[in-house]
């Protein structure tokens, strides 16, 4: 009577990677590329058929051609990218660092978290002019603005991730006398990674915005500065190109974050 054989359970309940996975991925990327190409085509058709003047909206080709003009593109892009990456890295170090300190010293968290949540409500962009007063202008202050605008989401999500540990799991490791450090390294920190990454993804967009606002307010270089310069001469194509390059820098940063997440976080644990 082999009706119930508890020792042999088929893998029925388990999900196995499907064979159509590669096709699915290829299909996904074809779709991603197509929708972007479609937007560029629509853009072109809109300008070409709508008789839109080039100072209102350039064609995609004119936009790319503006790269040939002597606007110091490479230098300005490097400056802006440096501000974004710099502010972002600083925000990561401070955001994750503070969250760790908070998780170790509960009293600090209870005291300062409400303050930080209030500070988070301040539109950081509005602080731009103040930063200029305090730190003068240039790459440094722009890094500070990018940092200020994007570090709180990282701090808040990391703090949340560090506190999201099942109490039963803590009980389980307490029965084998786990030290606080072991709980931290084996459970809390790896468990909070998905949260850290979700904060980091939000922070990418904010860091880009912060750096550009800084350049708008006061700056002598960078893509935001360039945009204001070419605006005077109504070189809309160059403005478009600057926006594209700014976006590109943001996309590259976002990809780096995604790649790091792929490497460090198991698929099932990722928060999207």
């Amino acid at each position: 009577m082999a009706v119930v054989d508890p020792n042999r359970t088929p893998a029925g309940g388990a999900r196995e990677p499907g064979r159509g996975k590669v096709n699915e991925t290829v299909g996904h990327w074809i779709l991603v590329v197509s929708i972007h190409v479609a937007v560029v085509i629509l853009w072109y058709l809109f300008v070409a058929w709508g008789d839109v003047p080039s100072y209102v909206m350039p064609t995609p080709l004119a936009t790319i051609e503006s790269l040939g003009k002597n606007y110091n593109w490479l230098h300005n892009t490097i400056v802006t990218a440096g501000e974004i990456f710099g502010g972002y890295l600083l925000a990561m170090v401070v955001g994750v660092g503070l969250a760790l300190v908070f998780s170790w010293f509960r009293l600090l968290e209870v005291t300062f978290m409400p303050l930080l949540v209030s500070l988070n409500m301040i539109p950081k962009v509005a602080l731009g002019p103040l930063f200029i007063v305090w730190f003068s202008y240039g790459v440094g202050p722009n890094i500070v603005i990018a940092f200020a605008i994007c570090f709180l989401p990282i701090l808040l999500t990391t703090a949340r991730g560090l506190s999201e540990v099942d109490p039963d799991l803590i009980d389980l490791v307490r029965t084998v006398r786990a030290s606080r450090w072991q709980v931290f390294t084996k459970i809390q920190l790896p468990g909070s990674l998905p949260y850290i990454f979700s904060g980091m993804k939000v922070a990418v967009v904010l860091a880009v915005a912060g750096a550009i606002v800084g350049e708008f307010i006061a700056s002598e270089e960078g893509l935001g500065y360039l945009m204001l310069q070419v605006q005077v001469t109504l070189d809309t194509a160059a403005m478009f190109m600057a926006v594209l390059l700014i976006t590109l820098v943001g996309v590259v940063l976002y990809w780096i974050v995604l790649l790091l997440e792929r490497i460090t976080v198991v698929r099932d644990a990722r928060l999207d």
Binding site: R8, A14, V173, T175, V176, P190, R267, A269
Partner: protein
């Protein structure tokens, strides 16, 4: 197989155990009148409704709570008991770490205790074999069904070779059929591993089917109603659920819980 010599010291001895929680000046009686003994190698079921203090009692046994009154003694002259390494726990949720492969999840308590790596890994593989998870050691938890995850959790509770396994409604989150299957599997694991197991459940039939002894707790106020031995032979199969003796035992438990 269970030594019930009247003079011998039992492995676990509880006498008049009481637990009172105090919060904001108010007292809340979580456990009272709990008196029973457990011999080494027994599988004792603790059954009762929500709020009867069964989880609290389990946490007292695990050394996570300090009881208010009464005697809690684990270990005997014959078998020493180290509360810092002789307890294995299984909860309703498997609580596997999502970022660890199954074998590494099983190894967690051994890692925390700093047990030798190679031996621990071999033991983990043997345990995975015992719970029927051979070939799944390198999978991640999400690749396993609920029942399989719970089996990995059982292997994890055994990896440091503890003398006492505490289970808090371990199959409560599983569907009825998987649960029956896991009951059978637990009996076979218990017989192979030769561990003392305390199994908390609110399923009376499950408690009687698994236990060498059933302890009945009641709620409001929380107290122990009775304990009785289940004299059904091992190994047990699902057929015994149709036997008269099984029905008598479950009826007795229902009666104690005022559900007749």
């Amino acid at each position: 197989m269970i030594d019930r010599t009247p003079d011998a010291e039992p492995f676990i001895h509880l006498d008049g155990v009481r637990m009172v929680f105090r919060s904001r000046g108010r007292e809340f009686l979580a456990v009272s009148d709990v008196t029973f003994d457990v011999e080494e190698g027994e599988l004792v079921s603790i059954v009762g409704p929500s709020g009867c203090g069964k989880t609290t009692l389990l946490k007292i046994l695990a050394g996570l709570y300090a009881h208010t009154d009464g005697v809690v003694r684990i270990g005997s002259g014959a078998t020493a008991f180290d509360p810092g390494r002789d307890v294995g726990m299984v909860f309703q949720q498997a609580l596997l770490l999502k970022w660890r492969r199954i074998v590494d999840n099983v190894l967690l308590p051994a890692e925390i205790l700093g047990l030798p790596k190679k031996e621990s890994r071999e033991r983990a593989m043997d345990l995975l074999d015992m719970v029927g998870l051979v070939g799944f050691e390198d999978k991640y938890p999400y690749e396993l069904s609920g029942g399989m995850q719970q089996r990995a959790a059982i292997a994890r509770a055994l990896v440091h070779d503890p003398k006492l396994i505490l289970m808090d409604e371990p199959f409560g989150a599983l569907d009825a059929l998987t649960r029956e299957k896991m009951n059978l599997e637990l009996l076979s694991i218990w017989q192979k591993a030769k561990k003392t197991i305390i199994f908390v459940t609110h399923g009376i039939s499950e408690a009687v089917f698994l236990g060498t002894k059933v302890v009945v707790l009641t709620a409001g106020p929380a107290r122990m109603a009775d304990e009785f031995e289940i004299a059904l032979p091992h190994p047990r199969h699902l057929d015994i659920k149709t036997e008269k003796a099984f029905g008598d035992y479950t009826r007795r438990a229902y009666k104690l819980l005022g559900m007749e």
